[in-house]
Amino acid sequence: MVTVADFNGTVKPDWCPACGNFAQLSAIKAVLAELGIEPHNTVVVSGIGCSSNLPEFIKAYGFHGLHGRALPVASAVKWANPKLTVIAYGGDGDGFFEGTQHFYHTAKRNVDITYIVSDNQIFGLTTGQASPTSEIGFKSKTTPYGNIEEPTNPLTFGLAAGATFVARGFSGDPKHLNEIIKRGIQHRGFSFIDVMSPCVTFNKLNTYDYFRKRVYKYEAKDLTDFSAAYKISQEWGDKIPIGIFYEKTERSYIDMDPVASQTPMIDIEPVKLNEKLVEEFL
């Protein structure tokens, strides 16, 4: 029997009080316990940013790597040992600026991992600069006259890239967030969850109140309907949908690999070289 307490780390989170990351940390721990996934079979890989400190605060195998590079590390961990539950975690700067190419290709490959982005629409760790999801007109240390660049739409991007599970959560609705993360971890293939996660220190625009006024729970009629998913992903403004936008079961990358699809790589003995294997050079 796995409990939430089994995932309690010894290091206290260094996030600001009321940071949206807390709800996600709690949700991840609760879901893992609920699904009976043991801490030693859990790997949490992150990049760099406030949210990316998360692996330090959970008792599991944590990997706190480089800015933007969580996904290639997480992919290879899963390819090496598919028995592990692999969660990649990071912020919007980490995932949609520095790591965009990895986001696109990991989604396209349908690697069987869960990618949770704590999207606070700002750089927090570096003390408040506009991020790829900052809104037009948003003022920050680096955009004192207001942001002039169109924000990235991570959900549309995830869908276009070929993610087989695309969802949006909100840190202000933990119960709903738990459910989405649970479904994401259960999904076989690449699950992408963008979590609206207010930065209480540096983002005075996209606050809990901002989202509470706007979010509503979206229920898809047909989760495999790509056009409907695309349409709902485009909705942003006075109303912001949260929920699962798209889910489709397709073979994950490892199912197609000529070698790894047969036996988990970690269980395959290395080949013993012999003269037959070098005969082609004679």
Binding site: G9, T10, V11, D14, E38, P39, H40, N41, V43, V45, I48, N53, P55, E56, K59, A60, Y61, G62, F63, H64, G65, L66, R69, L71, P72, V73, A74, S75, A76, V77, W79, A80, N81, K83, L84, Q101, H102, Y104, H105, D257, P258, V259, A260, M265, I266, I268, E269, P270, V271, K272, L273, N274, E275, L277, V278, F281, L282
Partner: protein
């Protein structure tokens, strides 16, 4: 030129089948027990331009592409003029002094004194056997092999293999080659050579393939690479054998992803490596330091080509040493190996797999285009090798500390999936247990302790380094220092000097960093120390001088081509007498 060796060169335009003809010639020699080395001169184009492929063979050990040229197969007029002209010296290659084989349709060329012109109706003969125009190359190969007295049966077998067995195409080529062989025998006199052909086949392979074989012998399970000349020869070999070797092979979106994937797999307990040339390696730099910080084993294959930037994509250089030594911010232990030849590439890549896991740190295997793309014979492979996974933590170990301070600097590794050993691996500075200490809790004493722990691993490695190899050094007044792929050329140059009574010897460096302290003794009491390397600034020379506080002279080459023994011997002699 010695009767005991032969050099054959095929010259033509890209797309004219130069390389494939060259490999038939090379294989014919390796199958008759000769020691072989090939040299490939080509450009970054698919059609046109001027390329050539040289094969040197002897029953004595061949250590470089060599000087001199006995037989030229000229596939067009440009090649015939270029390679027979004593004035033209492309990157050090010798003009022809021997037999030129070319199509009878080529006329009006200026005759050179040292050339025996042997026109053969290549296209006409080819037309009798096949509609494919490239069959004329096969006719030329037949003629060339007749000119040096090789038995036709051997050539026929190699051609059959090249064309996939005994099908119609293969037989057309064999009969075309036979007619070329007979035409030469009936019309011209063969060269006066005494090569000892035997039936003891040798292996013939390139440095890229040796990287693959070495890695697999060293327990490789996953190779992640992004195509870039000249690292691609390893990627191709490994990819084409993924099923034979039970490997997971992946070309991801970029080299940054490649190295992060290789690190992820090693973290998960699966031996993985990545590879690229300097451009791709530059992209890997940040993650290389992460592997050092997290103490995750990692092998990176770095195959140099002429830089800077895109540089000369199909030309050789040893210009990435500074990059490799300095790659990534901060100090962390790294091991840099630079194999000297094809078999050394096999041995050192294999060893790199163990070293990375034993010392839980990045190991970089440096090759270059010259070594990665030429073919060389290997008499025998010794596959006997024990895989060492290094220090591993036991499941549920009490008070487990991932970065426990030890005298060797090596701490027990836990692999995800092992119960009771959960911890965080952090690119931030961390404590023994892996907890971050970089921000609020920065502790100077702890920082010193963990830095010293990591760096201690290098001292442990230095203690197990084998003695540095030398060549004719014992009584040498002049020490020539080489690193990596220049071994064969430098040894041959030293033989030339020795024949002139100059007492020179070679210090051969295939473990570039850290340098073996025993080199200090080898450098002692020499009249002169000369460093030879393929780059502009003398990157290794600087390292050697700073490590051993010696004064040296430097011989460089940075025209994109390898050194040649004769030309190098002249330069060395001048330098020694200066």
């Amino acid at each position: 030129m010695s009767k005991e060796e032969v050099v054959i060169r095929i010259g033509g335009a890209a797309g004219e089948g130069v390389q494939s003809a060259g490999s038939v010639v090379a294989k014919s020699f390796s199958r008759t027990g000769l020691s072989v080395m090939t040299y490939n001169y080509y450009q970054d184009i698919v059609r046109g331009g001027q390329s050539w492929y040289q094969v040197r063979a002897s029953h004595n050990k061949v250590r470089s592409q060599g000087d001199g040229l006995d037989v030229l197969i000229a596939l067009n007029m440009d090649a015939l003029v270029r390679h027979t002209n004593p004035e033209i010296n492309e990157g050090g290659a010798s003009p022809l002094s021997g037999i030129a084989i070319f199509d009878t349709s080529l006329t009006g060329y200026k005759k050179q004194d040292k050339v025996i012109y042997c026109p053969v109706p290549l296209s006409e003969i080819a037309g009798k056997h096949s509609k494919v125009s490239l069959v004329k190359n096969t006719v030329a190969i037949g003629a060339a092999m007749a000119s040096i007295g090789m038995s036709f049966d051997v050539v026929a077998d190699v051609i059959r293999d090249q064309f996939g067995g005994k099908g119609e195409v293969a037989e057309q080529n064999v009969s075309a080659a036979k007619e070329g062989y007979d035409y030469f025998t009936q019309n011209f006199k063969k060269l006066d050579k005494s090569l000892n052909f035997t039936n003891k086949k040798k292996y013939l392979l390139g440095g890229g393939e040796a990287v693959g074989l070495g890695a697999v012998n060293g327990g490789l399970r996953m190779y992640i690479g992004y195509p870039m000349t000249p690292a691609s020869s390893a990627l191709h070999y490994i990819s084409s054998h993924a099923k034979d070797f039970n490997l997971f092979v992946k070309v991801p979106e970029d080299e940054i992803s490649a190295i992060n994937m290789a690190i992820g797999a090693n973290y998960a307990g699966l031996r993985a490596m990545t590879g690229s040339s300097g451009g791709g390696f530059s992209l890997m730099v940040e993650a290389l330091g992460m592997a050092g910080m997290l103490e995750i084993p990692l092998v990176v294959y770095e195959a140099q080509r002429s830089g800077p930037s895109t540089g000369l994509p199909t030309k050789t250089e040893q210009g990435d040493l500074n990059l490799v030594l300095g790659a990534s911010q901060g100090d962390f232990p790294r091991i840099v190996l630079a194999p000297r030849n094809v078999y050394d590439t096999f041995l050192l890549t294999r060893e790199a797999m163990n070293l990375a896991e034993k010392y839980q740190t990045p190991v970089i295997v440096m090759s270059d285009l010259y070594l990665a793309e030429h073919l060389e014979t290997v008499d025998k492979f010794d596959f006997n090798f024990k895989i060492d996974h290094g220090l591993r933590a036991q499941d549920n170990m009490k008070n487990y500390k991932r970065y426990e301070y030890t005298e060797s600097g090596i701490s027990p590794r836990a692999i995800p999936g092992q119960p009771g050993l959960m911890h965080n691996e952090d690119s931030d500075e961390h404590s023994e247990s892996g907890d971050v200490v970089s921000d609020a809790e920065t502790d100077p004493k702890l920082r010193i302790a963990i830095m010293e722990k990591r760096m201690r691993k290098l001292n442990s490695y230095i203690k197990e380094m084998p003695p540095t190899d030398t060549y004719r050094l014992d009584d040498a007044e002049y020490a020539i220092v080489q690193w990596g792929s220049t071994q064969g050329v430098v040894e041959e140059a030293v033989d030339i000097l020795r024949n002139k009574g100059i007492k020179a010897g070679v210090i051969e460096i295939n473990r570039v960093f850290p340098l073996n302290p025993d080199i200090a003794g080898l450098l002692k009491n020499r009249k002169k120390i000369v460093v030879v390397e393929n780059n502009f600034t003398g990157q290794f020379n600087r390292l050697l001088k700073s490590e051993f506080l010696v004064s040296t002279s430097l011989i460089r080459k940075f025209d994109g081509e390898a050194f040649y023994p004769g030309a190098l011997a002249e330069e060395l002699e001048q330098e020694i007498k200066r």
